[in-house]
């Protein structure tokens, strides 16, 4: 087994329905991807009810059991249900063995509803994977912008936040979190624009850039291609591909 610093860890993977597709597992093995950080957003409802996110987390827990060592679960919640979300995060980390918190579009990142969950994540020493985009075509009602992620990060400098998709419009996303050392960006998503990884590494430092795919929606080889093609040093590439995520995960339990 590779040392944790040489691993390839995909920090942003979703299910296809209730399953990880066998083709994805096979492709990950072929590409040398050692770990998949998996979250389920259930039926992709923007404002899931507690029973929805509990069921989604049960699906991920089942995959952790089926693929031990490969699948690392991220606990998905809706901050709009504070009591149930807090209980589910506790169950996810303490009982299901999950390693991170996933927040999507049920509440914007700087909504006070999010704060208790981030405080809980800080206590557990787990990273918060926060979806972010600022779309010219219009955001979803509670979809976080990079600026809102930055505001959350400034409020909780001890939180380890991963801003997904480099914030979508990556030049703006990188600029928005430049002054927030506790925010890393993940490279996930369907945007393959040449230079995005290099610019993130140049402006944020390699320590704050983390490989992610957004599979099953994005083809894992294409997503990995962004990082493999980027003109960064071998040491920086190792950090991006897995070293940084390994460091974040080691804060709680090691790999």
């Amino acid at each position: 087994m590779s040392s944790s610093q040489d691993m390839i860890i995909d920090c942003h993977v979703h299910l296809s329905g209730r399953e990880l597709e066998p083709e994805l597992v096979e492709t990950a093995a072929r590409l040398g991807v050692d770990r998949l950080c998996v979250s389920s957003v259930g039926s992709w409802a923007y404002e899931p009810a507690p029973e929805d996110f509990i069921a989604a987390n049960n699906d991920v827990a089942a995959l952790q059991r089926r693929y031990p060592g490969l699948v690392l679960g991220f606990c998905y919640l809706s901050p709009a249900h504070p009591r149930e979300a807090a209980a589910e995060l506790r169950r996810g980390i303490e009982e299901l063995g999950m390693v991170g918190l996933k927040l999507w579009v049920a509440a914007v990142a700087n909504d006070p509803l999010v704060f208790p969950l981030v405080e809980q994540a800080i206590c557990y020493h787990i990273p918060v994977l926060q979806h972010a985009w600022l779309k010219t075509t219009g955001n979803l009602p509670h979809e976080s912008t990079p600026a809102q992620v930055a505001e959350l990060a400034r409020r909780y400098p001890e939180a380890d936040i991963i801003m997904a998709h480099l914030g979508g419009e990556w030049r703006r996303g990188i600029a928005a979190v430049r002054g927030c050392p506790n925010v890393a960006v993940d490279t996930s998503g369907s945007i393959m624009e040449l230079g995005m990884v290099e610019q993130a590494v140049a402006e944020l430092g390699a320590k704050r850039v983390i490989f992610g795919s957004d599979a099953h929606g994005v083809d894992l080889p294409a997503a990995l291609g962004k990082v493999l093609d980027a003109e960064i040093t071998p040491a920086q590439r190792r950090q991006v591909l897995g070293g940084n995520m390994a460091d974040l995960l080691a804060k709680r339990s090691g790999l």
Binding site: E23, T27, T136, G168, G195, A215, L224
Partner: protein
């Protein structure tokens, strides 16, 4: 061997691109193991009269015709486009035409486009229809450009069965219905430069529409080449389908020897 059906060079008006020149493109193609590429001027999308951009790019690629083939930007809404088209073929050596309908502000159902399709057939030039250059979500707020609907592309191809068309930078969900709808005429191809998912997207595409009208494409210098090359490398395509996708189909489309 791999040929790339979709590359563009030149400046992007809204942000500094990491690379902009034909020399950069040649280096990145070499690094990606791509032997040959069809290239168009990015400025051709933003200048209503794309003639000067074509001339500038033709001068850059003149010494590299074994590697770079010109797909001249063409705007059928610009007066005199017929003369420009012929000059692009005869004087600049263009082997294809690239349209930017949303950027030049016309729809594919307009009479000018029908005239262009007819002339392209006379000149034996394939027509590349740029469905989008960039994900619409990333467009500058004051310059949101809609994607060309796949229905318009398919309808154009069906209306002109003697012309070869390529749907360029379409997404997975757009390619499948467009290629299905034109199965009868068989004159619509599509590049894979805009297809980034889902898992094993190329296998799924081939299962749905076959491999014979799919073209390898990167959208260099706008996108990472490895996003496309790894998609192919880690697909489950048969050697026959892989060869067709990576080179054979484009070679046939351009009527070029290997």
């Amino acid at each position: 061997m791999t040929w790339d059906a979709c590359t563009l060079v030149g400046p992007w008006p809204f942000a500094r691109l990491r690379y902009e020149s034909a020399a950069d493109l040649l280096r990145l193609l070499e690094r990606a193991g791509i032997a040959r590429a069809l290239v168009s001027p990015l400025a051709g999308a933003f200048q209503q009269d794309p003639g000067p951009a074509n001339q500038e790019l033709a001068a850059q690629v003149a010494c590299h015709r074994d590697r770079l083939l010109l797909a001249a930007a063409c705007n059928p809404a610009w007066p005199g486009w017929q003369r420009d088209l012929r000059q692009a073929q005869e004087d600049l050596g263009a082997v294809g035409l690239r349209l930017f309908p949303s950027y030049h502000g016309y729809q594919l159902g307009q009479a000018e486009v029908a005239a262009l399709a007819a002339l392209a057939a006379d000149c034996d030039l394939p027509v590349f229809i740029t469905v989008r250059l960039q994900d619409e979500r990333l467009h500058p707020p004051a310059f949101l450009v809609s994607a060309v609907p796949w229905e318009e592309v398919a309808a154009l191809a069906q209306a002109h069965p003697g012309t070869r068309f390529v749907m360029s930078m379409g997404r997975f969900a757009e390619l499948i219905p467009a290629l299905r709808q034109t199965a009868g005429t068989g004159n619509l191809y599509a590049d894979i430069a805009g297809v980034q998912g889902p898992t094993r997207c190329l296998d799924r595409l081939v299962a749905e529409v076959g491999a014979d009208r799919l073209l390898f494409g990167t959208e260099l210098l706008f996108q990472y080449a490895a996003a496309a090359t790894l998609k192919v490398e880690h697909s489950g395509l048969s050697p026959r389908d892989r060869q067709a996708l990576c080179m054979g189909n484009l070679q046939r489309l351009l009527r070029l020897p290997a």
